[in-house]
């Protein structure tokens, strides 16, 4: 029995991204494609997303011209491939407050948003620090925080303290404190709805960028494979690894069930297709009775 269908929906990409940004310590190893995606979870009467992409209205051209971000498509266009509209989305889990995850909140007028309280509190603190500590303020758009205020005023933003079980039936939220960001969050789907599930999927946000973060060559330390953190840790690499261990534990150490959204290789592991907009849809799993959208 599977309650939810899960799809990773690409909405933009960077064709050439330093591999060292994806994998800690991978210096001078060239570039990889970095897809920008959000995750759609649909079932049990809910349409939920993990993250919403960046606010193209404000930054799209700048990102394209200066940073090589290509082929952005709106949530309306991306979701249309799934037979949905942004208005259909009732729940959004924000994995962290970086601009490319927390930007397009205005496109989802009927959604209730969830974000870790730790993420907001510490950003506020970081914003107060002197310029010599500016590195701690990277990639956060003050306007996104303000958009969050608008959501809160409408009663559509919930701040979460740590773990929260069954925020939707069978869907749990977990805090990875001081890791990729101050209060990064991952989403766990117990797809059989059981408390001790045998069908768990973890949607990792930016705690894991790609498969190599979960299974990297460990020969340098005399093991077959080892976890290796992503390149950007505002908190610590240690906390990233501990979060990785916790996520892997939840899926019974089946690394196929931890889903990294910046992974181009999802297409090799899961049924996928390229849309008419030249963006990828990867089908992680299907709810009972649901038809494939990639076949």
């Amino acid at each position: 029995m599977a309650d939810y269908s899960i799809h990773v929906l690409e909405y933009s990409y960077v064709p050439k991204y330093h591999k060292s940004g994806v994998l800690y310590g991978a210096h001078n190893q060239g570039y990889v494609k970095l897809p920008y995606c959000y995750v759609l979870i649909k079932g049990r009467g809910h349409v939920a997303l993990v993250d919403v992409g960046y606010n193209h209205k404000d930054y799209g051209k700048h990102l394209a011209d200066k940073f090589g971000v290509e082929n952005w498509r709106s949530p309306k266009v991306v979701l249309a491939e799934m037979g949905l509209t942004p208005e259909d989305v009732d729940t959004v889990f924000i994995s962290h407050a970086h601009f490319d995850h927390f930007g397009s909140v205005e496109d989802f007028p009927n959604a209730t948003f969830y974000i870790q309280r730790e993420e907001i509190e510490k950003w506020v603190w970081a914003m107060s620090l002197p310029d010599r500590l500016r590195w701690m303020m990277i990639a956060v758009d003050p306007s996104d925080i303000l958009r969050g205020v608008g959501l809160a005023a409408e009663g559509r933003l919930r701040t979460v303290d740590g773990s929260l079980e069954d925020v939707l039936p069978g869907i749990d939220l977990h805090l990875a404190k001081d890791s990729h960001t101050f209060g990064s969050m991952w989403v766990t789907v117990r797809n059989d709805g059981k408390a001790t599930s045998e069908d768990v999927w973890v949607l990792a946000g930016d705690l894991v960028y790609q498969f190599t973060n979960l299974k990297n060559d460990g020969s340098v330390v005399g093991v077959d494979t080892m976890y290796t953190p992503v390149g950007l840790a505002l908190g610590s690499q240690m906390n990233l690894l501990l979060a990785t261990e916790e996520m892997m534990k939840q899926v019974g150490y089946d690394d196929r069930r931890v889903i990294p959204i910046h992974e181009e290789g999802l297409a090799d592991r899961f049924p996928s297709r390229i849309t008419g907009e030249k963006l990828r849809i990867s089908e992680i799993c299907l709810a009972d009775g649901s038809a494939s959208v990639v076949a």
């Binding site: 050439k16 200066k66 956060v140 758009d141 306007s143």
Partner: protein, 185 residues
């Protein structure tokens, strides 16, 4: 007239001096225009301070709105810090020498600082970080001031001159610029 992707700073919705006749984009200051060059280098840290104050006030208000009965962990000291930084930013803004071509830009930031001050005062009046849940009118008042500040923050952005509300330099997309620079050589 700005051709940046962010905004239309010439838009009449802003209560600002009329745009100068000459193209006043800060990213394309003529080599001999030392007054504009000084203004550009001087205004950037002020812009960033105001952007950060906006984020702090917004974040504190968000936490207040979503906190239920729980007290903020970073409550009063952070509000005070934001107010102090705003005061310092306004002082720095006033101290800038403003060439004619930058009058509108400077006025936008002054106006923005005023909205932030008004937002902070409204939050204080509401005791937004001190106890009782803010009433609807009070919430709307703070939001109105913060949104006005946000509009001006975007209107005064000059991303090609490095004046942008977001530091993209270490963001997920940041290496694209290096790739492009390399390819252009």
């Amino acid at each position: 007239m700005s051709r940046t992707p962010f905004h239309a700073s010439h838009c009449d919705v802003w209560d600002l001096p009329p745009p100068p006749e000459a193209d006043a984009r800060l990213a394309h200051v003529e080599p001999g225009d030392e007054a504009m060059q000084r203004y550009r280098s001087g205004v950037r840290p002020v812009y960033e301070t105001l952007a950060r104050v906006m984020a702090q006030l917004s974040g504190l208000f968000l936490l207040r709105l979503t906190g239920g009965g729980r007290a903020l962990q970073l409550d009063h000291p952070m509000f005070g810090v934001a107010c102090d930084q705003l005061a310092a930013g306004r002082d720095d803004l006033r101290a800038l020498a403003v060439p004619a071509a930058a009058t509108r830009h400077h006025a936008a930031l002054s106006l923005m600082a005023g909205h932030l001050a008004a937002a902070a005062q409204a939050m204080d009046r509401l005791a937004a970080s001190r106890g009782a849940a803010p009433d609807e009118d009070g919430k709307r008042g703070v939001l109105r001031q913060l949104h006005a500040a946000q509009g001006l923050l975007i209107a005064a952005a000059e991303p090609d001159a490095g004046i942008t509300p977001i530091d993209f330099s270490h963001a997920c997309c940041s290496c694209g610029s290096a790739v492009r620079l390399k390819a252009a050589r």
